[in-house]
Each structure stands twice: as C-alpha cells, then as structure tokens.
Amino acid sequence: MCAATAFAQNADKNVSFIEYPDFPEAHSTWGSIGYNAASNTVHIGVTNHANNIGLYTFDPVQNAMKLNGFIRDLAHLRPYQWQGKIHSKIVAAADGSIFFSTDGGESREEYLMEHPQGYAGGFFMKWNPKTGLENLGIGMQYESIKDVDIDPKTGTIYGISYPQAHFLVYDPAKNHMRDLGRLASSHVPRVLFTDWWGNCYYVDWRQRLVKYEKDSDSLVFARESLPAFPGTPGSKIITGVTAYAKDEAKGIIYLITYGAKLIAFHPEKNGIGKVEDLGGVIETGKANAWGPYVPNLNIGKNGKLYYIIGGHGNYVLKDKTVLVECDPATGKKTILREYPITAVTEATGCDIRDKDGNLYFAARRNPSGVGDSTRPFMIQFNPENEIRK
C-alpha cells in the first residue's frame, strides 16, 4: 500500500494533525491505537464504521503514515465475517508483533445473529510487519471484542466482549480460550489495562476494580468502588474506566472514570493495590463535576498527564474540546489548547508515547458540525519540545 508523508495542519509547533492516506471513506477511530516499542511506531485501526477497517502504521522518525492493508483482506474474511471496526487498543509484544480485536460496530451486530446479515463475532488478531496478519479466531460467537490487553511475559491475551461483557483469557500459543464470565450490567466498560507483572484489570457494575491475577489464575474483586463524585448517576458508574496511563517508574497507573475522576492506582503483584483520588479531570465550577467526558490519557516524559476533554456531544467549553495538562504532583490542571469541535470532535487513545516523548491521540473531526459525518486523523503532541519534522 501507499505511504504518505504526514503533514501538520496548523502552525502549532508542538502539535501535528496527521491524516490517514488511501482510505477515502474513513470515518473514525475508537481507541484503536497503540505504540510498538520494538519499532518505535504507532499503529492505528481506522474504520468506515460499516465494514472496512484499514490498519495503519506511523513512523515518527520518517514522519510517515502508511496503510498496511484492510483487515478483511489481510485476515481472509468472508462477507459473512464482516467487521465494523477495531475498538480495542493496539498492544505490542516484545518481538514487534501487535495484537488487537475486532468489533461489529453496526447496529446489526447486536441482534441479527444467525440472520444472513448477522454478526459472526469479533476476532483476536496479530500483525507483524514481517509476517503479516494472523487471525487468532473468534472470542465468542455473535459477540464483539471491545478491548484487549496483553501479558508481555506470557503472551496471554485478555479481552472483554460486547454486549455481554464476558472476560476472556486467550493463550495464542495453545489456542486455549477461556471465558471467565460476565462482569458488567447493562453497559460494557470499554477499557482493560494491565500492570507490569501482566495482571489485567477491569471494573464490575459497582465500578470496583476486578483483577485477573496471574499467580492465582483467578479474578480478584476490590472491596470498594473507585472514587466517584456525590450524585454520579448509575449510568456513569456502570461505564467504569475510560482511560489509563502508566508510570512504571513511580509504580502508578493513572485512571480516568466515566464519572470524570482522576485516580492514581498503585497496583500490587498480588491483591488489589491502593487507590488514590486525584479529584476531577477539570474544575469548571459551572456544571456537574461528574460530567466531563475523557476517553483518552497520556503521560509525558515529564510525568505530567495530558488528556483531551469532550466528545459524544459532551463538552466542558461550548462546542470546544480542550487539551489539558495535569501535574499529579501538585494536582494543578491547565487547559493548554482549545479546539472547535469542527476541528477536533473527540479523541481516544491511552498511554501512547514514542521515544522522542511525542504523545498520540486517535481523533476525529466533524467539519460540518452536524450529524456524524466525521473524518479520522491522528494528533501528535509533544508537551516539552517542538515536534521533529
């Protein structure tokens, strides 16, 4: 496939908006982004939000975004195995392979099932720049796989299904799939994350952390719910964690909840670790503290947190998304940039930082500001230095 040189669309020396080439009908990205340390590349799954997904690689050194191919071709999918999008993050193994999962995306995914237009189920997939794509099979019949993570030490893949929210543990080496059962209520929290030992975390319907603990090969439930503002609606509670970023040197995983709480989680190898409430993601003083929507989080080399607030019709500044810096040491939150929602409608992506300290968000924009006619693009942001071109 063609490669294209990325180009900045604004004069901001610290921010670059990067387009996806060779996919005219591209519509959006859904947290489907991840960093590959072995090659210092960023990988993105871009969808037309119907039945076609492009797999992209961005090389920050070459400043080039490349379409590796479309999932339906790379994975040899038949039409009845259509996939709507990659909703999972993209996680990398030490050998440079990346792993992700697929999602129905469309309305027909949830109810048509055995109908000819129904959804077969979401796949676990592995892609390596040298060997190409390997289809690792379906997680659950008729179910999407909303998110994955990997135990880098064992290669075990964790997944969460949609809409039944079953927690899946898959060993690709043995083709051994285990369904550990349903963990959520009427909504499927979208985010799984792992600690540095390879334990995996999710939340239950009370927004309590649920840990798949490797050593005991079991699910461990936190006694208490994650912090929430008084009055946080149940719909926010059951939606759980929307973003995370890891500071392994400090032993902290930062979390953002759908109820707009910023949390410092101190994982422990066995058992659930300490949870520290860092307050709200932003203090506007104007609206409900639990209101802001933040489906992304990155951490700079400076240890500060960066996130873009807004999306899905929920904005803290009228018709604007805002890029926020939070210093966990002081708790100070600063709005660094404001974007009209026609330029940045919303952004996803967790814990994506390259060797130069560039942070990445998978964003989309709706230039007309009406309907859902969006175009995806990637945001490259360096909080400390000008981006190298």
Partner: protein
C-alpha cells in the same frame, strides 16, 4: 421511567456508539420492575460467590423467593432466599455444608405438604449421583435442608415433579434417563426403564454429538387426572399413570423442524386454568399445547428464531410468560395468549438499587434460565445463568 431513561440509559448508549440512536435499543422495562443483586464477590452484604450462583431453580412462597443454583465443575451450589418487598437477598446456604460433592440444583422446586419444597441435585462429573432435598424456609428466613438420599444409585436427578397431593415425587435420572417414583411416606423409590433411551437410540444420538443434557426429559407435569407427562428420545411424549404404574407413548410427536427431531426435549411445562398443558421444546424452541383429554399436541409456533424454551409460567393477567432462546444468543422473555399470540418482550432491563449503588443502575438480563410466578400470579421472578447471576422481577397487570 422516562426520566430514568433520559438520565441513565441514553448517556450510556451515547457512549456506546456514534451511529444514530435507533429504536431497536428498547428493552422490557415495565413500571415497578426491579433487579435484586444476589451475587457479588468480596462483599459485606449477603451475596452468592462467583461461579456458584447460576439460578437454575426458583419458587415463590408469599413474599419470599427461594433459589437453587448450579456451580461450575468442582464447586458446590447454594440455596438462597430473597424478599420481594425488601428487594434484597436475606439468606444463603451452601449445600456443601449439608451434602458435599454436589454441583447443581436444577430441577426446580416442587411443592410437598405444607410449606415443604423438594428438589433434586446433580453431583460432580466424576460422581454424578444426586440427592433428593426437602427444603423449607424457617423462622428468620433460615433455610432448612433435609437430605432424603440418592433415589437412583449412581445417578443424578435431572428432573423432578411432585404430585398435587404432595405425597409422591416423579423424576428422571441422569445420565441413563430412567423414570423413578419416590413415596414421601414410605421413602421408597421405584425405578422404571420404559422411557430411558435404548442402545440403538443412543447409537443414533452419537451421530449428532449430543449428550444426555440434550435428549433427556427436562420437565414433567401432571394433568388434572393424575397422569404424568414427559419427553423421550425420538421426539416423543410419554404419559405415566401412577395408579397403574404404566407408561404409554402419545401418538402425536413433539413439534419439530424437519431433520432436527433428534433435538426434541421438553424443558418447560405450565398448566393452564382449563387444565391444558403448555410445553416448551428445547430443540427448536416451539411452544405447544397438549390436550390431556385427547392426548393431541398442537404446535403453537416459535416466539423467536433460536432454539430453547427454558421456562413457562402463567401470570394473573391470564398470559403465559416464558423464556425462549439462550446462549450463544440471548434469552428473550415472551408472553403468549390465544388472542394476541406471541409477544417477544426481548431482554428485560430493570433498575437495581443496593447498598453502595443507592442511585440505581440498570441491569440487563441476557442469559435468563428460570422463571417462576408468585402464587397469585402478581409477580414474575426470573433468575440468570451467569458467572454472577441476579434476580429480575416484574409485576404482572390484572
């Protein structure tokens, strides 16, 4: 409910999808319906532990719901009591304390004399022998369990029914599928081979890679004349006469989809006020009605596309409620009456309010396996079959 939908459901859905909000995202949400959290690990509340709480038996006695569960292999099941008025779990009992080595209580509960209820268990895969249980809810909601022993040596209890006098039990053993009777006064068991699959039938079943869970009769019922009905391999229905200790096979087969007769299995029954017997065929999910006077079966059709029809009960509105479908899809709640036919109510989604989630959350029922009506038909109680299963309850109109 409108405000609840606006405040809770729409925002959650908005997060789920950027596509237009479509009308298909409507759930069965009747007024005053609610869910009770009965399963939750690591809780200070009375809750069932993970993997031991699939609700496979239910009965309603006044304000109290009695549940029996199925556990994952190697774990033992529970009995539990929940209060409808208090909307909470009030008592739990680990069956391991009374009868070690059991895996499930999946026969449902049958009524004996007084407030006594009866159920059967299945053992673990390595030792399937199951016990008859006599269960009652005592003072302070204490769950009292009496072990009545193993009715069929080496066999689990797959199905159980009591007669209307509450003096005799009828059951199907697992895995051989033998019919047995148990006299509550004499405590004697009699075992019959007439309805158990024969060797040639088992050879045929082997070609379909189906096991006893698929082909053994999962539910029995007694008509007003005292005959006991169940299914047998080959898509057949049998009738047992307790007075004569005799079996007959009905001439009319179970309704079937052509070529799939091997899947015929009655897994639910309900008796209408007029004495007609409504049954659910697991194989392809047909609802049928058996007229005990003529012994004829009428196929009433399928409430949904998938197989399974796991539970049936009449409400006080005269409608028959049931649970159709199941994994790998979802269970659908449906209602049926002669005038309206089937109404597919889909997945229920009820509000759950518990300590720690006082603002309420919405609980959606995907894998509902049991349904029981209160004696007055006012409440329908549904139990989930999940790793963490909850109760879902809705009131039925007059």
């Amino acid at each position: 409910m409108r405000n609840l939908t606006k405040k809770i459901f729409f925002p959650a859905l908005y997060l789920a999808c950027s596509a237009p909000l479509l009308a298909q995202y409507t759930f069965f949400t009747p007024k005053d319906a609610f869910a009770i959290e009965v399963s939750l690990p690591n809780s200070a509340e009375k809750r069932l532990p993970m993997y031991r709480n699939a609700i496979t038996s239910l009965a309603v006695q006044g304000d109290r719901i009695l549940g029996g569960t199925t556990a994952k292999e190697g774990l033992s099941p529970y009995l539990f009591v929940a209060s409808i008025s208090a909307r909470k779990a009030v008592a739990l009992k680990d069956l391991q304390e009374t009868i070690p080595g059991q895996k499930s209580i999946a026969t449902g509960f049958c009524k004996g004399s007084g407030n006594q209820l009866y159920a059967g268990t299945m053992g673990q895969e390595s030792k399937v022998a199951g016990h008859l249980l006599q269960v009652s809810i005592g003072d302070g909601d204490a769950i009292q369990v009496k072990d009545l022993g193993i009715p069929v040596a080496g066999e689990g209890i797959f199905t159980l029914l009591s007669n209307k006098q509450g003096t005799e039990l009828y059951g199907i053993s697992y895995p051989s599928g033998r019919f047995f009777t148990y006299n509550m006064a004499t405590k004697k068991t009699q075992v019959f081979d007439e309805v158990a699959p024969k060797e040639k039938e088992l050879d045929n079943l082997h070609e379909y890679a189906v096991g006893p869970e698929v082909y053994l009769c999962k539910a029995l019922i007694q008509d007003n004349a005292g005959l006991v009905y169940g299914s047998a391999v080959g898509n057949r229905l049998f009738a047992f006469d307790p007075a004569k200790k005799a079996f007959q096979f009905l001439e009319t087969p179970l309704p079937a989809v052509w070529g799939r007769e091997v899947l015929g299995q009655v897994e639910a029954w309900a008796k209408a006020p007029d004495g007609k017997l409504y049954g659910g065929n697991a194989g392809d999910g047909q609802l049928f009605v058996l007229n005990p006077a003529t012994k004829k079966i009428k196929n009433l059709g399928k409430p949904m596309m998938m197989g399974r029809l796991q539970s049936l009960a009449f409400g006080r509105d005269g409608k028959l409620y049931g649970l159709a479908g199941g994994a790998p899809g979802y269970s659908h709640l449906f209602s049926y009456d002669e005038n309206a036919g089937f109404v597919d109510l889909g997945n229920p989604e009820f509000k759950m309010v518990e300590p720690g989630i006082e603002q309420g959350i919405l609980w959606r029922g995907f894998q509902l396996s049991t349904l029981a009506a209160s004696a007055d038909g006012k409440y329908m109680v549904m139990g989930e079959d999940e790793a963490l299963s909850q109760l879902m309850i809705f009131p039925v109109g007059q």
